[in-house]
């Protein structure tokens, strides 16, 4: 029995068990989902350990050999993604317990949450294009529902927008899959890769790639495809915002994009500089546009939403630089941004829980009353800005190093300058929410919420200080997995018989 199917099977089964468990004993839902996400965390660690030895672990569904059957191809890049997904899921589950006390129908929440997790896990381990689409849609539809979970007008509207735009992306992805299938007659990623090497870079090839880039940009929330983000994140319950901003968009948009660009289409900076320049351009546009907009926001969560759009830009720049350091930076950024933004949205949840508002003008002086929240915010914020020795610093550092090594000095300078924007809008929150003079007494954040935040703070600090082992064992191999390019296909086919 391989461990690979567990990644999506476990949350999928839990998703369907939850309604029944909820009938037996209500808190059991929370306990089981938290436990499951923690187990996923353990399995992801095991997965990282396994990929140290074997670059590619392949699982054949129903024991059909590829390309006939569907395969799960688990390499180091998958391992990183799975690792981050499990952590953010775990903290979101932990945080949800008390946060959801004011909602009804909690079992629906956990069911949907488990579906989102299952979908994301599936995306990051699958070796089949259509399978990827299916998981993407499972997760996406579940997330539309979660955004609408509050079922007020605002939430419904946001969810509707999210759904329309998300489906434009999803259906474009489906269309591109169909076109690709018409061209290559296969859906297996490795097999497509083989076929495309024969076909070559025709305009048709570029059109499919363009459609995919379009689809993933919507899913990732890049400017100008981002407009669902600032409505959806604030509307969703905080743990869901945390999950969406922290990891969902990265898996839906960035992971898929990177996997397809590097491993399936086999693009390299050396051969296709135009494409990578487009990535850098989109990244810069996102950083600047969303960063500027974030400065003007007056809502805690909406500001953070714009911040997420802006930060995804850095990841895209990292991939766009396309050399080892750039990709390491991008993957590190996925890690760092996942933890930091997940944490920041959790603090917003904590603030909303205590004060029932997320309007920056109404909030003030929570720092003394909610020290854990305030300090979590500071750590998350500093990591996002890139203050050493927190993990965000190393992410930015590697991106900048990559830019310098690739000869884009201007890009490095611009990236540093633009991170001032990050500092500026995060200080705005710090100023108005946590500093100032307290207006009235508020509730404190309960223990389960605080433990979720502290867990992320500890990770941010530990991974920041111990970035070297993380670099050596997790991020570095992942970057190598991407830079391996079309070797990916060979690995998938040659490791068919391995069973873990």
């Amino acid at each position: 029995m391989s461990f690979i199917p567990l990644f999506f099977a476990l949350p999928l089964i839990t998703a369907f068990l939850i309604p029944i468990l909820g009938k037996i004993f209500k808190p059991l839902i929370w306990i089981v989902s938290t436990l499951v996400s923690f187990v996923l965390f353990i399995i992801s660690l095991y997965g990282i350990a396994v990929t140290q030895e074997i670059p590619m672990v392949v699982y054949k569904m129903g024991n059909w050999p590829p390309p006939l059957g569907i395969v799960m191809a688990f390499d180091s890049f998958s391992a990183v993604t799975v690792f981050v997904i499990s952590i953010i899921s775990f903290t979101s589950c932990l945080f949800s317990y008390r946060f959801l006390s004011r909602y009804t129908g909690q079992w629906k929440f956990y069911t949907l949450l488990m579906l989102v997790i299952a979908g994301m896990m599936g995306i990051s381990i699958t070796g089949d294009l259509f399978n990827m689409f299916v998981f993407l849609e499972i997760a996406a539809i579940a997330s539309y529902a979660l955004v609408a979970f509050g079922i007020d007008a605002k939430e419904l509207e946001a969810a509707f927008k999210y759904m329309v735009m998300g489906e434009i992306g999803g259906l474009t992805f489906l269309l591109s899959i169909a076109l690709l299938y018409a061209k290559t007659s296969t859906l297996n990623l490795a097999d497509i890769s083989y076929s495309l090497q024969v076909v070559g870079h025709t305009p048709f090839f570029w059109m499919i790639l363009g459609m995919m880039l379009f689809a993933f940009s919507i899913k990732a929330g890049l400017v100008p495809f981002h407009s669902w983000v600032p409505d959806a994140y604030p509307a969703a319950p905080a743990p869901i915002s945390s999950l969406l901003a922290g990891i969902c968009t990265k898996v839906f948009g960035i992971y898929t994009m990177a996997r397809i660009i590097f491993n399936v289409f086999g693009l390299t900076r050396a051969h296709d500089p135009m494409f990578f320049n487009i990535l850098i351009g989109m990244g810069l546009l996102s950083i600047a546009f969303a960063g500027l907009t974030a400065l003007n926001q007056t809502d805690y969560k909406r500001l953070l939403a714009f911040s997420s759009i802006s930060q995804v830009g850095y990841i895209l720049i990292g991939f766009g630089i396309g050399n080892f350091y750039g990709i390491v930076g991008a993957i590190f950024y996925i890690l760092a941004h996942g933890f930091a933004k997940g944490l920041l949205f959790l603090t917003s949840g904590s603030v909303v829980y205590a004060t029932s508002t997320s309007d920056l003008k109404k909030l003030a002086g929570l720092g003394e009353r909610m020290p854990t929240t305030a300090w979590s915010f500071r750590f998350g914020g500093l990591s996002l800005v890139g203050i050493p020795p927190l993990v965000g610093f190393f992410a930015k550092l590697f991106i900048i190093l990559g830019a310098i090594k690739a000869g884009f000095l201007w890009l490095a300078v611009l990236a540093i300058l633009l991170s001032i924007l990050t500092l500026a809008y995060l200080l705005k929150i710090e100023n108005s929410v946590f500093m100032k003079k307290r207006k009235s007494d508020t509730k404190r954040a309960p223990f389960t919420m605080r433990i979720g935040m502290v867990f992320l703070v500890v990770l941010i600090v530990i991974i920041g200080i111990g970035f070297q082992p993380v670099m050596d064992f997790i991020v570095g191999p992942a970057a190598h997995a991407l830079l391996r390019g079309v070797e990916y296909a060979n690995l998938v086919f040659s490791h068919v018989l391995v069973n873990f």
Partner: protein, 640 residues
Amino acid sequence: MSIELFGFEIAIYYVVILLPVVAGLLGYLIDRLRTEFDFLGFFFTLFFSIKLFIVTRTEVISETIATFAGIDFRIYLDSLAGFIILFNAIFAFLIWMYSLKAMSKKPRERFYYLYVALTLSAANGVVISGNLIPLLIFWNVLVFSLYGILMVGKNDSSFAARKAVTIIGVSDYLMMLGIVILFSKIGSANFPTAPTILLNDPWFITSYLLIMIGAIAKAGAMPLHTWIPESAKVVPASTMAYIPASLDKLIGIYLLVRVSYFIFDISGSMSIRILLMVIGSVTIIAAVGMAMIQKEAMRLLSFHAVSQVGYMVLGIGTGIPIGIAGGLFHMLNHSIYKACLFLSAGSVEHRARTTDLDSLGGLGTKMPITLFTFIISAMAISGVPPLNGFFSKWMIYQGIVAFGKESNLWPIFLVAAMFGSVLTLASFLKISHSLFLGERPKQLNKVKEARFEMVVPSFILALLCIAFGVFAYQIPLRNLIYPALPFKIVETGIWLPTLATILMIVGIIIGVIVFLFGTAMKPRRSRVFIGGEVMDEETARITGPNFYSSVYTIDMLDKTYRFGEGGAFDFFNYLNGAANGFAIVFKDVINRLINALYKYIGTLVRALGSLTSTLHTGELYNYVGWIFLGGIIILLLLVL
């Protein structure tokens, strides 16, 4: 030329550099054994300096230790360097001895000894170096130790220390520039240069002037003197005696002589010589004028420390062998009597707890030895024969007269020098009267003679004053000064100090008789008549400081004095002013520019932000429109 220590052969010239600082450091670290370590350090430095001095009388030590980046780290010890090292060690030892009691239980005492030792090491290093660049390194160590030792003072000594370091530091930079010019012109900074460089190239003149500024700033010539009176108010007398009064003079004038006659040769350049003489004359007159009106003993003495530098510069500037020898001799004499004056005044301060001349008086009977040392050194500085100060001044006068063969300006310099001498005597009459003669205020009745350790150094120095005066030819000139200079000295004036001394002694005996029968120590009491009112005896006391208060009120002069007191001659003030000017420029122009930039960038960013915010209308069809627009752009870019 070397000693054996723990099986290592160590050249003595290393010993005189390393020993003081090592001993000082050990003493600093092991506070309990500080006196022992310091004693060993200073005593053996003295011992080895004497050995070194004896060696340099017969031979010249010239040795290149290492060459690094074209710079020779070179030892050069001739008889000039030898006698400077000897006196460095003598002064350090005497000051150390004096400090034992004077500095005991004072705050930051530990640092004080460390810096005394460091100063000695660095000063020896300066003298031993045979290349201007290592010399500059030691020179800068001196700046550091000067700062440190000035910080050991009263609470506000940090200002004086800052001022000193600013002035010395700026002049050091000028000197560094001069050395760099020299180095780049001749490709070496070794000295003495053979043949000496004539000042006929503008670069050489620039270089000489810059190095000269460094040298006279160290010695304390006007207008680079102002840190000395500033420090006098706040630091202990021993510090004043050690650094500005003796070691700085030795080092500064040493460098001036070196640069003027061993590296360059200024005797061929009339304008440079006149420049030096003008600096000397102005320093003499201006500083002594300032000294006249001081009401505080230390400050008064410190102005004399400046004034006397004028004689040295004047003598060296004459370019006449006898004048140069006189300048060098005056440097030595000055170090001796000025150190003695500071130490004696320090003893008075130690006992009376004040140096304010108004509240002192009549201490002569209480402190007879201090009276003796003070009067002897005061007479020496005023140029009263047969003391040493007279003799060196006499040589300088001879130099000026001989200079008259080459230039018509000589009477001005001669008058300046003699007038300065007269004013010096006048101001010392005032300070001697204020301290030791006249009526004693009641609160000083319990004052006793200073401690043994404090009296002995000043007594030795006073004896040196007499010895160097009476046996001027026999001891200092023949052994110290003449061998140190590279030319033959011809005396023109006739002065037989031994005969003169006999006459003097007769005069003094008469004076003593008068003293014994007279009432010099007992003030004459008479009732003051002021319109029938009876005055308190205390208020009617005549104190020294007002002797020359009429000078202060003379028209013209009073303005100058007020300028002087207000700091108009203070180079530091101008430097400060310039810095303030820069600050204003910076604040008003650059700062505003930056502010404006910051403001406008902020506004721009915020405007852009609000623009992008308003684009988010929340209308779905708009958003979908953006999406498709973006998609079309991507497709166009990729497919075309």
